[in-house]
C-alpha cells in the first residue's frame, strides 16, 4: 500500500519531481516516462533512500524509511559494482536476511529464488563473469529472495533477452496472485501492458495515473514525451505506444 501525496523533489535546485500524487493498494503498477522524468527518483523516495522536501509518502501506513523491511528492490542496472569477484550466491543471499550468518533456510530461499529466475547453475559463479542479462536476473532473484510485500523494480528488462523477459513476467504474475504488490519502472511498457493494473505516466509531474486503458492515449503520451507517439491498438483494445519497442 503506497500513498504519495503532493511530493516534490529537487537535486541542488534542479526539479526532478513536482507535486506528484498517486496511491495504490494491492496492485501491479508500472511507471513510465522519458529519460530524466524522475522515475528512479520517485521509487527512491518510496524506499526512503531520498527524502522529499515537500509532500508526504506512506508505505503500508508507515514512513517510507520504516517500511524498508517489507520491500524487495532491484536497482537500475548501472548502479552496482562489478569490479570484484563476488559470487552469485553471495548476492542472492544478501536478499534473504539481515543476520550476520546465513541459516539453512536462508540458503534454501536463495537457491529457490535463483531457480525461479532460471539460473540455478550459476550459484557458484562469479557475478562479473555473467552476461548483463544474467546479472539482471540475479538481481531480480535477490529481490525475490527477500519475499517482500512490495517489489520495486527499476528497468528490470533492459538487458535481458525476450524469453527470459517473458519468464520474468510470468514470475511477476505469479507473485501478484500470491498477493505481492509490484512497482515496475519501464521504458517499453508493451510486454507488461496486459498484466498491469495501473500506469503512472510521469514527466516530473504525474501526467496521468489509472488503468492502461484510461491512461494511454495520444494526448497523454504527447504530454509526457513532448512529441507525437504512434499507437497500435491490439485486439483486446489496449493502446500500445510504440516506444523502445523492438516490434515497432
Amino acid at each position: 500500500m503506497i500513498e504519495v501525496k503532493n511530493v516534490s523533489y529537487a537535486y541542488n535546485g534542479n526539479i526532478a519531481l513536482q507535486n506528484v500524487t498517486f496511491s495504490s493498494k494491492d496492485e501491479f503498477v508500472a511507471v513510465m516516462g522519458p529519460n530524466g522524468s524522475g522515475k528512479t527518483t520517485l521509487i527512491k523516495l518510496i524506499m526512503g533512500l531520498l527524502e522529499s522536501e515537500k509532500g508526504e509518502i506512506k508505505v503500508f501506513g508507515r514512513e517510507a524509511k520504516e517500511a524498508r523491511n517489507l520491500i524487495g528492490y532491484m536497482p537500475q542496472k548501472d548502479t552496482i559494482a562489478r569490479h570484484f569477484p563476488i559470487r552469485v550466491k553471495d548476492i542472492v543471499l544478501m536478499g534473504t536476511t539481515k543476520r550476520r550468518f546465513y541459516t539453512k533456510e536462508d540458503i534454501e530461499k536463495a537457491k529457490k529464488s535463483l531457480e525461479e529466475v532460471g539460473l540455478p547453475h550459476l550459484w557458484n559463479e562469479r557475478f562479473s563473469s555473467l552476461s548483463q542479462g544474467q546479472q539482471q536476473r540475479v538481481m531480480f532473484a535477490r529481490a525475490l529472495a527477500k519475499e517482500p510485500k512490495l517489489l520495486i523494480l527499476d528497468e528490470p528488462f533492459s538487458a535481458v533477452d525476450l524469453p527470459s523477459r517473458d519468464k520474468m513476467i510470468d514470475i511477476l504474475n505469479e507473485k501478484r496472485r500470491e498477493g505481492m504488490e509490484i512497482i515496475i519502472v519501464v521504458h517499453n511498457i508493451n510486454p507488461i501492458l496486459h498484466e498491469i493494473d495501473k500506469v503512472l505516466l510521469l514527466n516530473k509531474k504525474a501526467i496521468a495515473f489509472g488503468s492502461p486503458r484510461e491512461v494511454l492515449n495520444q494526448e497523454t503520451l504527447k504530454k509526457a514525451y513532448g512529441t507525437d507517439i504512434q499507437i497500435v491498438v491490439c485486439k483486446e483494445g489496449y493502446c500500445h505506444p510504440l516506444i523502445g519497442d523492438e516490434h515497432a
Binding site: Y73, P75, H83, F84, I86, D90, R126
Partner: protein, 259 residues
C-alpha cells in the same frame, strides 16, 4: 646479524601485509584508491602539527596523524563526489603540513621520516601502536565484513536491506584511513599508496573469490616487503622504495597477462 631493528622491521612488514590485505582490498572493492593518498598526506599534516605543538601537548604525533586521516575519510564519506572532497582535503592538508614544517625547522627531520618511511628505524612504541591499530582493524572487519561487502556492491540495495549503510560507509573509510597511517609509519606517506593499493589491485585481477583477494593481497605485500628488507640489508637501498617497486611490478605483470 638479526639485531632488534631488523626484528622490528620484520614485525612491521607482517603488520603492513595485514593492512594491505584488509584495508587495501576494501579500498579496491569500494573503488576509492585516492582515499589512501589523501589520508596519507593529511596524516602528515596531523603529525607535523603535533610535533609543532609538542611543548604544549605531548602525545605521540601518530595520534595527530590518525585524527587528520579520519577527517579526510569523513569528508569523503559525507560528500556526493568523494574524490573531489578527498582532493580538496589533500590540498588543504599539504598546505597545513608545509606551514607546520616551516615552524619546526629543527624537528623537521621527524616529519621527513614520515614522508619517506623508516622501516629500519622503528621503535618499540611505534610497533606497539601499529599492532594495536591493526588488531582493531582486524576485529572490526571480521565483525562487519558482510556489511562492508554489501555496501561496496550496492549502497542503496544495502539500505533497503536494512543495513545502516551510511554508518558502515563512515566506519569502513575510517578503517582505511587508520590503516593508511599505520602503513605509512613503516613505508612513508609517499609510498604507502603503492603498498596498500598495488597488492590488492593485483590480487583483485588474479583471484577468483573474495577470500582469494584478501589472501593473495597479503601474500603479495609480504613478498614485496621482504624483498625490500633483504635488499636494503646488503645494498644502500631504501627498503620501502624496493618494496613499492616490487608491489607495483606485480600489478603490471598481472595486468599484462590479464589483458
Amino acid at each position: 646479524m638479526l639485531d632488534e631493528f631488523i626484528i622490528r622491521a620484520i614485525i612491521a612488514i607482517l603488520l603492513l601485509a595485514i593492512n594491505a590485505s584488509i584495508a587495501g582490498t576494501f579500498t579496491i572493492f569500494k573503488d576509492m584508491p585516492f582515499l589512501v593518498a589523501g589520508s596519507a598526506h593529511a596524516a602528515l599534516a596531523g603529525a607535523a602539527m603535533m610535533i609543532a605543538l609538542e611543548n604544549y601537548i605531548n602525545i605521540n604525533p601518530l595520534f595527530g596523524a590518525i585524527i587528520f586521516a579520519i577527517l579526510v575519510a569523513f569528508s569523503a564519506a559525507k560528500a556526493k563526489q568523494a574524490n573531489v572532497a578527498i582532493g580538496i582535503a589533500f590540498a588543504f592538508s599539504m598546505a597545513v603540513a608545509v606551514l607546520f614544517i616551516s615552524l619546526i625547522k629543527e624537528q623537521a627531520a621527524r616529519v621527513w621520516g614520515l614522508l619517506f618511511g623508516d622501516l629500519l628505524l622503528l621503535t618499540n612504541d611505534d610497533i606497539f601502536l601499529m599492532a594495536i591499530a591493526t588488531v582493531l582493524i582486524i576485529i572490526v572487519c571480521l565483525a562487519f565484513n558482510r556489511e562492508f561487502l554489501f555496501i561496496s556492491f550496492d549502497m542503496e540495495g544495502a539500505m533497503v536491506q536494512g543495513i545502516k549503510a551510511n554508518f558502515f560507509n563512515y566506519l569502513l573509510l575510517s578503517i582505511i584511513a587508520v590503516s593508511t597511517v599505520v602503513t605509512m609509519k613503516a613505508v612513508g606517506a609517499i609510498l604507502v599508496y603503492a603498498m596498500l593499493i598495488a597488492p590488492a589491485a593485483a590480487a583483485n585481477k588474479k583471484a577468483g573469490s573474495i577470500a582469494g583477494v584478501f589472501t593473495m593481497a597479503a601474500f603479495f605485500a609480504l613478498f614485496a616487503g621482504f624483498i625490500g628488507l633483504l635488499l636494503s640489508i646488503y645494498f644502500p637501498f631504501s627498503p620501502s622504495a624496493i618494496a613499492a617497486l616490487v608491489a607495483t611490478s606485480i600489478y603490471f605483470i598481472l595486468y599484462k597477462k590479464g589483458s
